[in-house]
């Protein structure tokens, strides 16, 4: 060890230095306080022996300065003194001394003290190192969580969570609490929302959330149905999550065009569909959480509810009803129902629930581990207006091609070919920004071919709430009898000077129906208010396609869709836009 000895008496210093050297330590000598402080800063000794009374700067002041220099390091400081007055010895310790050594020096006691302080010093160093390590590890962990959060955000992004008709409350690091909330626009219009709550917290929950985000956004973008997405999430989680870990979740699939909401709830608290007039329908958990059942036992069957603009849909994680007040009482699902019962006119369920939970918990920022999401049903036109996609840069890719894809037999019941067909079309550079229109074209043709062609379901049924349920029951039943049937898509794409032309031919094996009359009937169905379940699709097809031809008995439909790379919105010429932009620069 390096030992600093500060002592003004030359003979005393000689003696003490000799003693300490004899014990095998390296000695540095100072003869007053100022020298001692300077030498301390210079050689950084492990232990200091300091005379209390010294000229220039006394031991007390030197002790204070040395302790300040040592900072967090423990440098034992032993006062040397011939003081016999107890209160003066106490003053030495108050000044920062750890002990004292009384003259005449005793070698045995000196050695024992140096050894004792060396043990203390070593222990302090070990503890400090461990504390620093813990601190560093904690800093690293927090830093890693932030990075992980950024990575997660890149995978999960916010989707369309910021849309005007979606309100949500989630903690910034909610993914580490096991909560996830995703929202995506369907290619054919409408909104898809998934709220999940993983069992467990921290890293395992966050890791489990990653593939769920990828599956959700990837499949939603490609036009897969909500049920398909749920099946895939369940399959994936079943594989990756350890036993005992799973994900409670709810899926909302809102189709503003059809005025239809499909819901699925597996393990989350009751969600609610709240009508504009206050009437409400429960969205109760009817399924086990995701990741529990093997794929063959998993049920993705969704509840279908007719909705109108102004309706509000609420889903939440169990952190919401489980929030407790200072007395330890939980808000409870009864609390949620009570808030919804007492909704004031003009008050949204989301704001009412958040206000009540803040008041109940007494925390203005609400709790960290609850997620609440509300979706407002809006008009299709309003949805389209807020959903203008930015144009993509021109890319190389397939522009001139033809393909035929035929779905047959039982596959008609088991498989939805729309994502695949949409995917093929989206390979055309520039066409992606028209994905909504292309999806609508394809899905209208496909649904007509399947429901009215192959399954022979009359669309009038869907015009009343009773018939609506009957329609879907019958659809399900008839899908078991698709033997001998097919639906065939022939797609062709060609480039044009300003964009491209997509030709779609859809044929089916059904008996066909009087298309012309069907159209007329649809046009006559001018329901003044309320949802219109059918007919809108064909009107839209006629509007979007340059050409719509129905051959034979109505089971052979051909349409031509022209699209342009530059958007010409509201009569504004493309060149005009360009000029404006340059002028602004």
């Amino acid at each position: 060890m390096k030992v600093l000895i500060a002592e003004d008496s030359d003979s005393d210093r000689l003696i003490l230095s000799a003693f300490v050297r004899k014990l095998g330590h390296e000695v540095f000598e100072a003869s007053d306080g100022i020298e001692a402080v300077a030498l301390f800063a210079d050689v950084q000794p492990d232990i200091v022996l300091l005379d209390a009374l010294m000229p220039r700067m006394d031991g007390m002041e030197a002790a204070r300065q040395i302790k300040a220099l040592a900072g967090e390091q423990l440098v034992p400081l032993i006062f040397l003194s011939s003081l016999s007055d107890a209160s003066e010895l106490a003053r030495c310790l108050e000044a920062g001394g750890d002990d004292f050594l009384v003259k005449p020096y005793n070698r045995v006691i000196l050695e024992a003290k140096i050894n004792a302080f060396n043990r203390m010093r070593t222990m302090h160093r070990v503890l400090s190192a461990q504390r620093d390590q813990i601190r560093r590890q904690n800093e690293t962990m927090v830093e890693e969580q932030k990075v992980a959060r950024r990575v997660f955000d890149n995978v999960a992004h916010t989707g369309c969570l910021n849309a005007d008709n979606i309100r949500h409350h989630a903690s910034p690091l909610s993914v580490f609490n096991g909560d996830v909330l995703f929202a995506a626009d369907r290619p054919g219009g409408g909104t898809l929302i998934f709220l999940g709550d993983f069992t467990g917290h921290g890293l395992p929950a966050a890791i489990g959330a990653m593939p769920v985000a990828e599956i959700f956004y990837g499949m939603a973008f490609k036009g897969f149905s909500a049920a398909d997405i749920l099946r895939e999430i369940n399959r994936k989680l079943r594989i990756i999550l350890p036993p005992g870990m799973f994900c409670c979740g709810a899926m909302l699939d809102a189709d503003f065009k059809l005025g239809q909401l499909r819901t699925w709830n597996g393990g989350l608290p009751d969600g609610w569909l709240v009508r504009a007039d206050g009437e409400r329908t429960v969205i109760a958990s009817k399924h086990l959480p995701l990741g529990v059942h093997p794929p063959e036992q998993f049920s993705a069957s969704m509840t279908v509810l007719p909705v109108v603009p102004g309706d509000q849909v609420i889903v939440m994680t169990d952190g919401f009803p489980e929030s407790s007040n200072e007395q330890g009482q939980q808000f409870g699902e009864a609390g949620v129902r009570q808030v919804l019962d007492q909704l004031q006119p003009g008050e949204t369920p989301f704001h009412a629930l958040m206000a009540h939970i803040r008041q109940f918990t007494g925390k203005p920022e609400a709790a960290d581990d609850l997620t609440l999401c509300a979706l407002e049903i809006i008009h299709q036109e309003q949805y389209q207006a807020q959903n203008d996609r930015p144009p993509e840069s021109a890319l190389f890719g397939p522009v001139d091609w033809h393909c035929v894809y035929e779905v047959r037999e039982r596959t008609l019941a088991d498989f939805n070919p729309l994502p695949l067909l949409l995917h093929i079309c989206m390979e055309v550079p520039g066409l992606r920004r028209k994905s909504g229109e292309v999806y609508t074209l394809l899905s209208e043709l496909y649904n007509n071919a399947l429901e009215h062609g192959v399954l022979e379901l009359p669309s009038e049924w869907k015009a009343s709430p009773d018939g609506f349920g009957h329609y879907y029951q019958e659809r399900k039943r008839r899908l078991t009898e698709t033997g001998g049937h097919y639906i065939r898509f022939s797609l062709s794409h060609q480039p044009t000077a300003t964009g491209g032309q997509l030709q779609v031919v859809c044929e089916d094996s059904g008996k066909g129906f009087d298309f012309a009359r069907y159209f007329e009937k649809v046009s006559e169905m001018q329901l003044p208010s309320g949802p219109r379940y059918a007919g809108r699709g064909l009107e839209m097809l006629k509007r979007m396609a340059r050409q719509l031809r129905v051959h034979g008995r109505g089971n052979h439909v051909e349409l031509v869709y022209d699209w342009e790379t530059t958007e010409t919105n509201d009569g504004v010429e493309p060149g005009h836009n360009e000029t404006l932009r340059i002028a602004d620069d």
């Binding site: 003979s11 003693f19 009374l53 016999s84 003259k103 005449p104 070698r107």
Partner: protein, 116 residues
């Protein structure tokens, strides 16, 4: 060892053992230091600076007990106490006593050193 012991030969023998070749240097240093402190006692007494007198006596006391001159240490302590009390009336007598005891210690140390 009584209060009147001039030299603690046992302590000195231990110092000699530890200091080895430096023992003579130690003795010379002690003697030189002590003369300085004795001068300082006289000067502060003349100046009637009780506080400085006490401090000089205190330092002198420390080196005396360390070197193994206990009686000289006792005398120094008495001087220190007078200084602290601020009453230097009895101090000249004590300083005289210190001076004569120091002469005694010096002589004995010379003998001790010579014997070694």
């Amino acid at each position: 060892m009584t209060d009147k012991t001039h030299l603690d030969e046992e302590a000195l023998a231990e110092l000699q053992d530890v200091m080895e070749d430096e023992f003579d240097v130690l003795i010379q240093t002690y003697l030189a230091d002590s003369r300085t402190r004795l001068d300082s006692l006289r000067q502060t007494l003349e100046a009637a600076d009780a506080d400085a007198f006490a401090k000089s006596a205190h330092s002198f006391k420390g080196s005396c007990v360390n070197i193994g001159a206990p009686y000289l240490g006792v005398l120094c302590m008495e001087a220190e106490q007078l200084g602290k009390a601020g009453n230097l009336a009895a101090a000249p007598a004590i300083v005289d006593a210190i001076e004569s005891e120091f002469a005694e210690v010096s002589a004995r140390l010379a003998v001790f050193g010579g014997a070694s």
